[in-house]
């Protein structure tokens, strides 16, 4: 159909066809999708919600106190198919899109973000293999995750380099058919429980070499000699999640375990984030939703000055603002997830979602404690845990400040076009 022909069509066409034509050329307006979840999405959400509320919520306080790894809950989530959703179907997974995975993540996070982070770390560790692995690597390392409930981890951060990924010092030197790795990683979620790690190490020693060529991504079996997980770190919140430092001392990695090739690591590591930031935002939203529900329930039970505290405007306005934040965070992560599922670059939306959700999770948790008053400060009530758990959402998977760097760069970049 020639352009002249299509123009003639447009002249005579109904408004409906014009709308379709306009939307075809302006994909950013095609966000009409989100009025209703599909039946399958609703069913997935139901299973995750039921599991979270009936099994995670009652068990979470004791895991928080003891810091014990919640393996029974993780195993159950694995049996129900709530984990490893991103693994492609030919490796035994369900090949879920990021949107569906986010729906599940929000529900699990409602139960306990410590448990949910342990589960989410699997997705983060797997994502480089999913986006950059060759068939043999995918079948080997993703396949085994669907055969038994195994964990994996994403090893990039070091004691001296977090936000500045290009500043990592772990060295990988090629020796024959192997790479020998030496270095220190830190704050690795599932560090002590992983069956294998995605590792980012520097392969080009030349300090002038650009970041986009200097690093390589590896898959490392956790039982490789020289891999030494440190002690489980005692953190402020999400205490059931296993976070450790890991020392790599002359660890030998076969060249078959290099992702794509030498020098491709930085791009792979960053590319994984576009797919894992929306679920992290979803997790923060789940926590904020929990804060809102607990605070609302309490406000309808507790009385002061002769009325339920929910009837005092100071409290009802706090709840209203919490509700606003939760709804907007949800829409933000859904947009980011939907964009990447459509095959588009979603960096801008993913950063907005993660930054916003992390911030509001902290605000909603603090407001929930406020609404509970003295009881909120006490460990017998569920909200103080939410406040401790929320803080990390402004730090991991790209700090609040790094997200703002990314958003400003994307925004100014668009403006200059």
């Amino acid at each position: 159909m020639t352009s002249a022909g299509s123009y003639c069509c447009l002249e005579r066409s109904s408004w409906r066809l014009q709308l379709w034509y306009a939307l075809l050329h302006h994909p950013s307006t095609l966000f009409l999708n989100l009025t209703e979840l599909t039946d399958q999405q609703k069913e997935f959400q139901e299973v995750a919600r039921k599991f979270a509320r009936e099994e995670i919520v009652p068990a979470a306080p004791s895991y928080d106190r003891s810091g014990e790894y919640p393996f029974p809950l993780i195993k159950r989530a694995w049996e129900l198919g709530l984990m490893n959703g991103h693994i492609p179907e030919d490796c035994g997974g369900m090949g879920l899109g990021i949107f569906d995975a986010c729906l599940i993540t929000e529900e699990l996070a409602f139960g306990c973000t410590g448990v949910q982070t342990a589960i989410e770390a699997n997705s983060l560790g797997q994502m480089p293999v999913i986006i950059a692995g060759n068939d043999a690597q995918k079948k080997k390392y993703l396949g085994r995750m669907t055969e038994e409930p195994l964990m994996c981890a994403y090893c990039v951060t070091e004691p001296g380099a977090g936000s500045d990924v290009a500043g990592i010092k772990t060295r990988a030197v090629k020796k024959g058919d192997e790479y020998v790795v030496n270095g220190q990683k830190m704050w690795i979620t599932n560090g002590g429980k992983a069956n294998w790690y995605f590792l980012l190490a520097r392969t080009d020693p030349d300090p002038k070499c650009p970041a986009s060529k200097a690093f390589t991504g590896f898959i490392v079996e956790a039982d490789t000699p020289g891999v030494q997980p440190g002690r489980k770190e005692l953190n402020m919140g999400q205490r059931s999640s296993d976070t450790r430092g890991i020392t790599f001392e002359d660890v030998k990695i076969p060249k078959e375990n290099v992702l794509i090739g030498e020098g491709a690591g930085f791009k792979i590591a960053m590319g994984a984030f576009d797919k894992t930031r929306p679920p992290v935002a979803a997790g923060a939203t789940g926590l904020a939703q929990r804060a809102l529900e607990e605070a609302t329930k309490y406000a309808l039970e507790r009385k002061t000055f002769g009325k339920f505290i929910a009837e005092h405007q100071a409290v009802s306005f706090l709840l209203a603002e919490m509700a606003m934040k939760v709804e907007l965070a949800r829409m933000a992560y859904q947009r980011a997830a939907w964009e990447v599922d459509q095959g588009r670059r979603n960096t801008y939306y993913a950063s907005i979602a993660k930054a916003f959700a992390g911030d509001i999770a902290n605000q909603c948790a603090a407001d929930a404690v406020q609404i509970f008053g003295g009881n909120g400060f006490n460990s017998e009530y569920p909200v103080e845990k939410l406040m401790r758990d929320a803080k990390i959402y402004q730090i991991y998977e790209g700090t609040a400040q790094i997200q703002r760097l990314i958003i400003s760069r994307e925004h100014l970049g668009k403006f200059k076009q």
């Binding site: 039946d39 069913e43 997935f44 299973v47 599991f51 129900l80 198919g81």
Partner: protein, 264 residues
Amino acid sequence: MLPLRFRRVTMSARVLVGVKRVIDYAVKIRVKPDRTGVVTDGVKHSMNPFCEIAVEEAVKLKEKKLVKEVVAVSCGPQQVQETIRTALAMGADRGIHVEVSGKDYETLGPLQVSKIFAALAKKEQADLIILGKQAIDDDCNQTGQMTAALLDWPQGTFASEVTLEADKLKVVREIDGGLETIKIKLPAVVTADLRLNTPRYATLPNIMKAKKKKIVNVKPADLGVDVSSRLEVLKVDEPPQRQSGVKVETVHDLVEKLKEAGRI
């Protein structure tokens, strides 16, 4: 070698399971302002808990290879297909949606449903019907019993344990006095009580597989069943508000108060 009768019954045995879509158990029920019923619009609905237990029992029998096929049946408007899908995700093989909507659905009760089930049992050549003992919305506890009577089949109601022994079903029933064990011949109707089993979650892979399973639409007229009701609901009210009690100091005062109230 199994006796011929046993082989006929178990290797090709087909189980019909009834699943009812009801207001979710956790929802706070509100009476409509016109007092003709309860508010259902926009209210969360799910599978009747006793029906979940029935589906679980049927799927367990299939996993033990004691029955060949589990068919989930529901009567109602388009939305009941969600309930049938849940049964499929739990392990039922296919579904039958008996279309009843509008006024007919509002007045649909155990008598019509049991006629539908009896007709389906004959049409599908079912060997066993498992239903929940009652629905949590009307608490009728009649459909299982009426279905058995219409088919002239034996019934094992309030089942807390079901075992297949040769061509008989051993059913342990929860009754007021304790537990009663009966043996009934197949084909039979069983109604599930609370302690029969713990229903499984539908796992995500099973939900995806369930999309490929078939649900067939059938009209009551096709089964020769008239769904018109002989009952008319006059009004629906909330239970009376509980009145506060009175505290007394001594047993003597208690006796006096009871005498005053004409209770003793």
